[in-house]
């Protein structure tokens, strides 16, 4: 009967877990992020940006102290859900924020509704998320926001035949669908639509299949963090030398990894909402401060999503005068507009989704480093999927 000593250890652990607590009057913001596992680059970027925002803007809003709680869900939706429930019930957070992948954001939606806690999505990019609860708002992007301008640009610039390659989950499906619809409407041709599993990114066989069909370009969407492997395997097959171009939403040329991808990625054309190279004083200040606080790490579109998410939450709290009930906060959020490092953005009062500029960029070498250099702007793009539904 060795369980008696283990029992003692267990009760000690219980007491320890129960002992934690904090002051009731603080305003708490709970970030649920993938800090471990395959999506950890998202978590790292977002957490760093949220902390940077608090460093720059202080930890008091409307006379109340703000506490940032960062929790790791490892991009596993069951975890996201349990953590969200815990944050609502025990920590009584004013906001839930973060959500590295769409499934996590979707899993938490019913809790946001039941607990009347605003869920600020600062990373995940599937269109439907904001429709799942009246308490969800988004400061990241939707995939269609990038893919539709991408399709427009490609059709106008001599790209006729495209193979689409996307990860097999909701954002991937969104990306492929919205791109194909726009591209074929503008006279382009989709040779093949390839999907690959989200979990094990070995793209080699899929790339071979794409190469065999000799497209002008490959339209690719992979979640933030997997772009490096994709480009490497693309180059290994000599596809860059064969004149096949990479086009797609900017996830594949993620600023966080871009520098390590090397020459094969030069000339890749992407449409996206943010580049660390974006030419504005707000962005320069943001990039410098971010690099300084994080050992030279370059902020990517995830970081800017979290940074703007924090801005949105701070402003909402100011507007409500520190009131933290979900209905006042979500009302305050609707229609809010400000200048972000990525350019002017606002929250659509009808859909609670973000309206922002989308930039067409190409990868170039600048001062020895690879950057997405913006050369064309599609101003104030609304989520095209929701806009299409409305018509």
């Amino acid at each position: 009967m060795k369980f008696n000593h283990l029992l003692m250890a267990a009760s000690a652990a219980f007491a320890l877990a129960a002992a934690s607590g904090a002051r009731a009057d603080d305003i708490k913001i709970g970030f649920i992020l993938p800090m471990t596992g395959q999506q950890q680059s998202t978590g790292k970027q977002e957490a760093a940006a949220a902390k940077l925002f608090m460093q720059q803007n202080g930890d008091t809003v409307a006379g109340k102290k703000v506490e940032l709680i960062i929790k790791d869900d490892g991009a596993v939706p069951d975890n996201s859900k349990r953590i969200a429930q815990d944050l609502i019930v025990n920590d009584k957070v004013a906001f839930l924020a973060g959500f590295g992948v769409t499934p996590g954001a979707l899993a938490v939606a019913p809790l946001a509704t039941e607990g009347k806690t605003p869920e600020i999505v600062t990373a995940a990019g599937t269109s439907i998320i904001t429709e799942k609860s009246p308490y969800i708002a988004r400061t990241s992007f939707t995939l269609a926001q990038s893919t539709v301008p991408m399709a427009d640009w490609a059709a106008q610039n001599g790209i006729k035949k495209v193979v689409s390659m996307v990860s097999d989950y909701a954002p991937g499906a969104d990306a492929a669908k919205s791109f194909a619809a726009e591209f074929t409407a503008k006279g382009g041709q989709i040779l093949d639509s390839i999907t690959f599993p989200l979990a094990n990114p070995d793209f080699a066989p899929f790339l071979q299949r794409a190469a065999d069909q000799k497209p002008d370009a490959i339209f690719v969407f992979v979640p933030s963090g997997q772009g490096g492997i994709f480009v490497k395997q693309f180059a290994e097959r000599g596809m860059d030398k064969a004149g096949i171009r990479i086009i797609g939403p900017g996830d594949v040329t993620d600023d966080d990894l871009l520098n390590g991808m090397g020459d094969p990625v030069l000339g890749a054309i992407t449409a996206h909402i943010y580049s660390a190279d974006h030419n504005s004083p707000t962005n320069k200040a943001f990039v410098d401060a971010f690099k300084k606080a994080n050992n030279g790490m370059r902020p990517n579109f995830m970081a800017v999503g979290a940074y703007d998410g924090m801005h949105l939450m701070y402003e909402a709290l100011k507007k409500t005068g520190g009131k933290t009930d979900g209905d006042s906060l979500i009302a305050a959020i609707k229609g809010m507009a400000w200048e972000s490092p990525r350019g002017p953005i606002s929250i659509d009062p009808d859909t609670r989704d973000i309206i922002q500029n989308v930039y067409i960029r190409t990868v170039e070498r600048k001062n020895g480093e690879l950057y997405n250099v913006e050369f064309e702007t599609f101003p104030s793009v609304k989520d095209p999927i929701k806009a299409a539904e409305k018509k």
Binding site: T36, D78, R82, V89
Partner: protein
């Protein structure tokens, strides 16, 4: 003469199966947590589910010597099963759905047991792992039914018995899980202390000899594997029902591997190993992950290495003295010979 021997054996088995005061104290404490830690229902609920899941592995690993990396197959199958029947309104009452899910998992356990029981340990590890990976891939492939990588959305779980709603605070969910855990534990305890359980131990000790004294080795293993699959399935169904959500992660290798860790911490072959291991593992994980959300896996790993390398034997040495004193006391209170209280050893 024969009947005297039979009586003696029967009396021995009965003594062996008696609930010791420590066990009673354990369960009193377990149920007391409902009132003791009202803010911790969610983590407690997860712990109860993990405990039930670990109990299922302990049954085959600790009693029958079948090592498996594939318990997640049953966990996941029943998880999706219970989610789907609730989503499409096939079985609305959670308790019935739970039982149906457990039976579905047991059926899968029965079918796969014939594959698993063929080889030796290493083969079994691979085959069990393969089964769960295959099911995971099937769930991913048929994403129009399972939701694929997005998880099963829109699951609406009705109140238990039409009365107890799964509340946001997790109170009813935890009580539900705890009661199911207790019932399953009592069942498992009944099984392992029965002559059937004894025969399993014989098989674990030496399958050839067991066969020679007339134990139908294969069918005993099939039976316990099926039972264990059913328990794992109940754990999976509980997870889906209490979160109203199910994702591909239920089939992941991590889930099966975590289970082995839990049993390494808690020990195998005395039923409480999985329960205590689950409590320690979950609380440790929760506590460390709160301190350092980015690097908690490192610290968990370190703790596990320490436990395996230095901890267990030494800890047992420390507690031997304490246990002696405790058992003296309990024996005196219970007014029966002390040797029966420590019979399990």
């Amino acid at each position: 003469m024969t009947s005297a021997a039979a009586n003696e054996v029967a009396a021995y088995l009965k003594r062996r199966a008696r609930w010791s005061p420590l066990e009673i104290a354990f369960w009193v404490f377990a149920f007391a947590t409902i009132w003791l830690f009202p803010g911790k229902y969610l983590i407690l609920k997860d712990t109860a589910i993990l405990a039930l899941f670990a109990l299922s592995l302990d049954l085959i690993l600790g009693y029958a010597g079948i090592i498996s990396l594939g318990q997640a197959a049953f966990f996941g199958l029943a998880g999706y099963f219970s989610g789907l029947v609730a989503k499409y309104g096939i079985i609305n009452e959670p308790l019935l759905a739970l039982i149906a899910s457990g039976l579905a998992a047991a059926a899968l356990g029965f079918v796969t047991s014939f594959l698993v029981l063929r080889g030796s340990d290493l083969t079994r590890l691979m085959v069990t792992l393969g089964v769960s990976l295959m099911l995971g891939e099937v769930a991913n492939r048929y994403s129009n039914i399972t939701g694929g990588a997005d998880g099963l959305q829109g699951v609406d779980i009705q109140p238990i018995l039409g009365r107890f709603r799964f509340d946001l605070y997790g109170h009813n969910g935890y009580v539900y899980c705890l009661i199911v855990l207790f019932i399953c534990f009592v069942l498992a305890r009944r099984v392992v202390y029965s002559p059937f359980g004894l025969s399993l131990r014989a098989v674990k000790g030496n399958p050839l000899r067991a066969a020679a004294i007339g134990i139908p080795v294969k069918w005993r293993l099939v039976a316990v594997y099926t039972f264990s699959a059913g328990l794992a399935g109940l754990a999976g169904a509980l997870l889906t029902q209490t979160t109203a959500f199910c994702s591909l992660d239920v089939f992941s290798l991590d889930r099966s591997a975590d289970l082995l860790l839990v049993l390494i911490i808690g020990g195998t072959g005395y039923l409480y190993g999985g329960l205590i291991g689950a409590v320690i593992y979950k609380l440790l994980q929760d506590w460390i992950a709160n301190l350092t959300p980015q690097y908690w896996q490192f610290w968990i790993g370190l703790v596990l290495v320490v436990i395996v390398l230095a901890g267990r034997e030494r800890m047992q040495g420390w507690i031997a003295a304490a246990r002696g004193a405790l058992e003296d006391a309990t024996a005196r209170v219970a007014a029966r010979p002390a040797k029966f209280a420590s019979d399990r050893q």
